[in-house]
């Protein structure tokens, strides 16, 4: 039986970590994810978990400690945001290339500079090609559920990749909302125990991890990492199916909201998807066929599936909460349009950069996007696909 509760997104993440009870948590506090290790450290002090909590002196060390713990054969978790993730940068790549299934809670925040503590996705987008699986969460419920599924995906022998669960800083991390929690025993049984195949503390199999890897092998090792990321697609769906059997909550690569007959489609991630659903409902009442495609799995990128889901739309807007700064568009836009091109889906598509540095995204803003799409669907004209939403022009 699920438990009806009300928690903030950070409380939800900490609760998931408590129920997972990993061997090691190493973290350094940074707004807006600070509460996660803060709450978790109280679980450690109270003896609710038997995790080794490592209060490191920087995020570089946090990821290093996770790598050490995971390489030794333990299950390791961490949490961070923005510049904390930037400081982990070197170790982020080492974690994925050593094929260590570390799980991170990333509470999305704008990367400096100038300094800003509020939400956008520039932190996550900076590591999008680092070989981590990346799941995005609309609300506290999804942040919790994604963490419960994380180890099952990451530790699968066909995958063995680190995984991060993203949620929007402040917007969901600090908002109290309803949530359905699972019983401790249910989570324990679902997550299972970690049985690594190769690990440093196995005295029967002495191995080295992370030695020099030059022209003769690095290419092959990178190809294996890429293959693991492709394999993750199937595993993500299998784990979601099993999760649904246990909890009744359904997950896939993305959620299709009112997409059956949708003509005007917004593609977005995290909390804005909720606001887009709210707005789509309102427009549906006015007879406008609005739909939302909320991407949950950003890495591996489900290109073929997205292209298929978008193939019947008349106009599409892709919302990016991080600018590409590349004179082309945001990262989600370039990924989705490339998926459409490769899969022969030709629908007029535009990009909106929005919500940068915590600029609030209102239902009126979303409605403006649908209005623009209506014009585009009618005329077929797109003057400029690289647009801004909520940017002050004065």
């Amino acid at each position: 039986m699920s438990i009806r509760e009300r928690l903030s997104g950070n409380e939800a993440a900490a609760t998931a970590m408590k129920q997972i009870n990993p061997d090691v948590v190493a973290a350094f506090p940074i707004t807006p994810s600070t509460e996660i290790p803060q709450y978790f450290s109280t679980f450690v002090s109270n003896g609710t978990v038997d995790t080794e909590f490592v209060a490191v002196e920087s995020e570089h060390s946090a990821m290093s400690a996770c790598i050490g713990a995971e390489a030794a054969g333990g299950r390791a978790m961490t949490a961070t945001s923005a510049n904390g993730l930037s400081l982990m940068w070197e170790m982020i790549y080492i974690a994925s290339s050593l094929r260590l299934p570390i799980v991170m809670s990333l509470v999305n925040r704008a990367v400096s500079g100038p300094l800003n503590i509020h939400n956008d996705h520039s932190d996550a987008m900076g590591v999008r090609d680092s070989g981590w699986i990346m799941l995005f969460s609309e609300n506290n419920q999804e942040a919790y559920d994604n963490l419960l599924m994380a180890h099952r995906i990451a530790e699968n022998s066909k995958v063995r990749l680190p995984l991060m669960v993203c949620q929007d800083g402040f917007i969901t991390s600090h908002s109290i909302e309803n949530i359905e929690l699972e019983e401790d025993e249910t989570v324990k049984k679902f997550v299972g125990t970690y049985k690594p195949e190769h690990y440093l503390l196995n005295d029967k199999e002495p191995i080295a991890m992370g030695p020099l890897d030059l022209q003769a092998y690095l290419f092959e090792h990178k190809a294996q990492q890429a293959e693991a990321m492709r394999n993750a697609k199937k595993v993500i769906l299998e784990v979601a199916e099993e999760f649904e059997k246990v909890t009744g909550r359904k997950y896939s690569f993305f959620e299709e909201y009112k997409m059956e007959d949708a003509e005007l489609v917004i593609v977005c991630m995290n909390s804005t998807a909720g606001t887009a659903k709210f707005t789509a409902d309102k427009l549906r009442n006015e007879g406008i066929k609005a739909g939302v495609l909320k991407l949950r799995v950003f890495r591996p990128f489900p290109a073929e599936e997205i292209a298929k889901a978008l193939s019947k739309a008349k106009a599409i807007a892709i919302l990016d909460k991080a600018d590409g700064l590349n004179a082309v568009g945001g990262p989600l836009f370039t990924d989705v349009t490339s998926a459409m091109y490769v899969n022969n889906v030709k629908v007029p598509t535009v990009n909106y950069i929005y919500g940068i540095g915590g600029r609030d995204t209102k239902s009126d803003d979303i409605e403006k996007v649908y209005n623009d799409l209506q014009e585009i669907a009618k005329s077929g004209n797109i003057d400029n696909p690289y647009r801004y939403l909520g940017l002050r022009r004065e």
Binding site: I117, S175, I176, N178, G274, K277, T361
Partner: protein
């Protein structure tokens, strides 16, 4: 009650407006509602204007933005009336609840011609009487419950008793005063 009720809190850092919004979310949750309670984070410091929000609904809430057209506004500190546009977007069908001892004329002058209902309460007096200190958030919480009717007085008092027992587990001596503050506030909030 309407399907979705939206409430905006105006206070100053340190007065507990954020806590009050979270307590209201808690109380509404305990009566079976879907809730959101969230502050608007800025550079926080004692005395600076702060805003917090509540959504309360009988159905799941998906919208994730600040509230621009609230049904109700709560003003925890009446000095904000001079500097913050507290009635911005406030629905005519709704109401504003102010912690003040100012008269009707002053209030109307400072509410930009707001046409909806105006309520006032002397939260300072109630707080000093019952708690011996100035914690305006407790009386203001009761006042908004009374005005918005998100739950009955009885449901609210029963729930808060439970919350206070939990919240003040280490200083149970303050529970009675807080409960008294709620009870008096429910009675004393008055229409201007």
């Amino acid at each position: 009650m309407n399907n979705l009720i939206e409430i905006r809190w105006h206070g100053r850092g340190g007065q507990g407006a954020k806590t009050a919004s979270l307590l209201l979310a808690d109380a509404a949750f305990n009566t079976g509602k879907y809730i959101q309670g969230f502050p608007e984070y800025g550079p926080e410091r004692m005395g600076a204007p702060i805003t917090a929000y509540n959504r309360i609904s009988t159905e799941p809430i998906t919208i994730h933005s600040n509230i621009y057209e609230p049904d109700y506004v709560v003003v925890v500190d009446d000095t904000l009336l001079e500097s913050v546009d507290v009635t911005a977007g406030l629905k005519k069908t709704g109401a504003i609840v102010i912690n003040t001892t100012k008269d009707a004329e002053y209030l109307k002058q400072h509410l930009n011609g707001y046409e909806g209902e105006i309520y006032k309460i002397d939260a300072r007096k109630i707080s000093l009487e019952t708690l011996g200190k100035y914690f305006p958030n407790t009386p203001m919480l009761a006042a908004i419950v009374k005005v918005s009717k998100v739950m009955t007085d009885e449901e609210f008092l029963n729930d808060m008793k439970g919350s206070f027992k939990h919240k003040f587990a280490k200083k149970p001596e303050v529970i009675e005063g807080n409960m008294k503050a709620l009870e008096i506030a429910l009675k004393e909030v008055e229409k201007v």
